[in-house]
Subunit: 600 residues, 2 copies
């Protein structure tokens, strides 16, 4: 008897799984799963971003959602084949629900599902117009007094927010707000983005001058228009600023720059927000149905309270407002903090001729950027990956298919390799006194990022300066107080300073909600970001997904968007579809709305 190919096995399995679902036979469907199993659903079943872990959670989810979802047509995705490796059979899959088309990935072990990822690709009848369905453009035929494209755009820009209201208002015009707005436009959801800076891209331009992206280009593409093949691996901030600026233009976004959101409140009866923004010195009231905060996954600046801050004669800044080294040549600068911003800023200050000391109060996870790119990302996001057929979409989905609960297990071996490869580097750092860590479970940078959004530095050169003492280091010591002349540490050291920079991180994004809406609403939605891993700065209980990000929150019609360029790109798709569905009056019963365990 001939062995079945992986594709045949998967096809037969999907037929069985699909039949059980169509028959409403939940037990049979659950029995298609391993005992140790994960089903991550992005919108299709749950109208949420939700990971079900184990058969019990899957059973509960299906009981609540199966009858309404009506999934059918499970098959290996067109043009794909299943593959078998190390006992795991993997395949890209397609399926449909009553209202959507789905795409995902399945991993089988011993003929049962280990991991299943189901994502919403598009809503039937509301597909984006691209490729074969791209708009015609030229108005063929003729019509007296019909408007040109430019006139239509001008009308839109004159009306939207004035004589007619946007369905969605996005506050924050960085890469997150921009990516989401682009998706929403392609779905014909009238949207305005408000950005307080003068120009799109300023959120990058205004940062310290040596800033470049720390993530490599293949990881960073925006939706619809990739960076070209000659774009640098790590783009300088001004190049990114220019790209974002042109992107808002050619993707036809309704982008209100130099506009600040002042106040927002939700009318539960009218199901509508009232948002007051200030633009060109005038207050304008907008009434969107949906409000998205895309103000950056870093919330408000954490400005620590330290005795003597009112006594200190020099300047004090947070890393987010530090303008760069130009005015500090020959000056003494003390930087409190030892993570990403601290390193970038210390290096830039040294380059600009300042006398700089870094105060490290707790350990930092360091990884060299080329090592991270090679070992951490290259399988999915690299020139080699592209050359062997990887697409950004697939890379994003492969990443999304790894359950958060076990993601650290995949990461640990990679970081073991990195530790080995760069051991001399780490030895030199420790010799200089630097306190290193690898994350509590040695799972490294990306888990730290997902859990707490901080606590690491991707080294692009500052470490050499720490190693050789060009950047002076005081480590393992906390600040006692500021004196009028400098920083007094708890070990008695006095660091004279003209400038003290608090590279001390940010609060949770819901801090912006407190300012803009109310403390009550901010508390109602709770802390953003983090997985509930019970590690430093990510207290339990386990959430299984990023708190509040890209999905329904406890405040109706309030959403949070953000993250790095990869997340801004990928998760904007699902957030845009959730908003589109609501606009079209499609029923969106949310399963497992995230409960709030922390106020932020």
């Amino acid at each position: 008897m001939l062995d079945k190919t992986p594709s045949t096995k998967v096809t037969e399995f999907l037929d069985k799984f699909g039949s059980a679902l169509e028959a409403g036979d939940i037990e049979a469907a659950v029995n298609c799963f391993q005992a140790d199993c994960y089903w991550r659903d992005l919108v299709t079943f749950t109208w949420n971003l939700k990971t079900m872990e184990g058969q019990d959670q899957i059973r509960e989810m299906l009981k609540a959602t199966l009858a309404k979802t009506k999934p059918t047509g499970w098959k290996i995705a067109e043009g794909e084949e299943a593959a078998e490796d190390g006992g795991v059979t993997t395949a890209w899959i397609e399926f449909e629900t009553e209202i959507a088309r789905g795409f995902g990935m399945i991993r089988l072990k011993d003929g049962l599902i280990w991991t299943l990822l189901t994502t919403m690709a598009e809503i039937k009848g509301h597909e984006e117009k691209a490729g074969f369905t791209r708009p015609l453009g030229a108005k063929h035929g003729h019509g007296r007094d019909r408007k040109t494209w430019r006139e239509e755009r001008e009308d839109e820009m004159a009306e939207l927010g004035h004589s007619r209201q946007p369905y969605t208002l996005i506050i924050g015009g960085g890469q997150g707000g921009i990516a989401l707005a682009a998706r929403l436009r392609q779905l014909d959801v009238p949207t305005i983005v408000v950005e307080r800076n003068e120009r799109a891209g300023d959120s990058w331009r205004k940062r310290y001058k040596s800033l470049c992206l720390h993530d490599p280009v293949w990881y960073d593409h925006l939706p619809y228009i990739d960076f070209p093949k000659n774009w640098p691996v790590f783009a300088p901030k001004d190049k990114i600023g220019d790209w974002l600026e042109m992107y808002t233009k050619v993707m036809e976004l309704n982008y209100w720059s130099a506009t600040t959101a002042k106040k927002a409140s939700y009318d539960e009866a009218a199901k509508e927000w009232t948002v007051v923004v200030e633009r060109d010195g005038k207050e304008i009231t907008l009434k969107p149905k949906q409000l998205v905060l895309a103000t950056g996954m870093s919330g408000k600046a954490n400005w620590p309270t330290i005795k003597g801050q009112d006594v200190f004669k020099g300047e004090q800044q947070h890393s987010s407002t530090h303008p760069g080294p130009d005015k500090y040549r020959g000056k003494k600068v003390v930087v409190i903090g030892s993570n990403n911003s601290a390193h970038d800023i210390c290096a830039a200050l040294w380059e600009g001729g300042a006398d700089v000391t870094m105060v490290q109060r707790s350990s930092t996870h360091i990884v060299r950027s080329d090592t991270l790119m090679d070992i951490g990302l290259s399988a999915l996001y690299s020139e080699q990956a592209v050359e062997s057929g990887m697409t950004t979409r697939k890379a994003d989905l492969i990443f999304a298919s790894l359950p958060y609960r076990i993601l650290h297990e995949f990461q640990i071996p990679l970081y073991d390799q990195m530790r080995e490869r760069d051991k001399d580097f780490y030895a030199a750092l420790e010799k200089a006194g630097f306190m290193l860590d690898w994350g509590e479970d040695n799972s490294g940078l990306f888990m730290k990022y997902l859990r707490r959004g901080s606590g690491y530095y991707i080294d692009v050169g500052a470490c050499d300066l720490v190693i050789d003492g060009s950047i002076k280091l005081k480590s393992g010591v906390d600040v006692q107080e500021l004196t009028k002349d400098g920083v007094l540490l708890k070990d008695g050291t006095l660091l004279p300073a003209d400038l003290v920079i608090y590279a001390t991180g940010y609060g949770s994004m819901n801090g912006w909600a407190a300012d803009l809406i109310s403390r009550e609403v901010a508390d109602k939605v709770g802390k953003c970001w983090g997985l509930g891993s019970d590690t430093i700065k990510d207290p339990g209980p386990w959430e299984g997904e990023q708190r509040n990000m890209w999905k329904p929150t406890q405040q109706e019609a309030l959403w949070f968007h953000g993250g790095n360029l990869h997340q801004s790109r990928h998760y904007s798709q699902y957030l845009a579809l959730q908003l589109k569905a609501r606009m079209e009056g499609i029923d969106t019963p949310v399963y497992g709305l995230q409960e709030v365990h922390h106020r932020g």
Copy 2:
């Protein structure tokens, strides 16, 4: 005995051909060709764009160039296979010369070459940095006082054209100048583009308001950044303007808008141009080594001399300066001409409520835009083509591989199909009195474009207005004179007019050279465009390539760039390489420099 596969046959053939070339055995190489054969070389052998027709011309070319070119390594291009169809075996090929890497296409009939296309892909040691060799971007490591990307760009913009001179100056910042400048930057050739309009893209924005591209999007991509998948098929002029504007920014072009070139002269001894431009009211003298006129393949406006033009009381415009219909509602407008601009303008005027008459003095070739897209372009430039694996590069090369001498033979059957598909449409046009043609040999639109750049209209709706009389038509009649009130035709008809528009075409591009440089230089280089086909407006003798376009001219260091978006994109590659080679001091002996038979 097993039949050899097409790939095996081609590989064996290439081994034989390559060996003959390497041995310097010209006769053996020539004998690899059919009697009826064509070898089109883009730069690699000839440092020219040249088609050799027949064995004798090939022999002569090899005698002159083979020893220096040193071609080797002929093989089927990596990842490709040969294909056999209808007695013709076709394959993508790669080869090397002493200084370059080549790419091309071969077509064999009965084991001998029918057509050979050889193109220069890159110069060894001067490859563009992209993909695996894309720049790093972030300056890793550290260096005191080193400059950021933005500072380097600012320095470049402050210096280039002032304290240091560009190698290449491009006059004309439309899609041609922009595409060429982008290629040159990727090859590190310091280049300035001067554009008289205020903003990049204005050459489109300022056109009549209903203007859209008549070529579909897949045909129109610029180098390096494709239009996205949701870009319209026929882009409205303002969208194109915006794209060009952002492209100049993100591709880091040194683009001097609001800058007019006043005078240029070549110093034969210093091998350098002196070009005076006016920018912000100041005259600046530039000294590039190479000068490119990218002012548009349409040269200066043809403004016919007609008796009574000084008597006519109303307005007179050329199509190129017509602002659109807004001021002419209710007015009488007479448009002299019946080709592309005339139809677009008449339709826009009708839509704007004007009373418009088209005066057709000679026949016009008409094809409907969707028919042209379907039958004329879809094999190479369409969503279907993309889906079946066609790339823009391959489409461009396939098109380039069809010898101009026989191109019409490929075109005639396509236009027969178009004539049949739209026969009712054509009957209705003729019933309205419109004079139709199909090109002298029925080879249709693209041949007309290549031969004379005029004489056709791609219908996007104006024809229906001619058919139903909304656009009034006087055909088969010429203009006698203008009276003070209107246009008197030779058949005695008087057409009252408030505005007369001369949609009467353009002169040859070397008319710009006459204005900018001198009549002598303009005559020295002669007429641009056309193949020498001995058809209307394309007098012989046969050139075999576009006169003066994208290749060396009789004036050292003077070049012409332009054409439609496809040509701007594709031929900018070869022009950029020819300029790069000269900058690097590589020997570029031009074979078969085009002689001048017509002054323009």
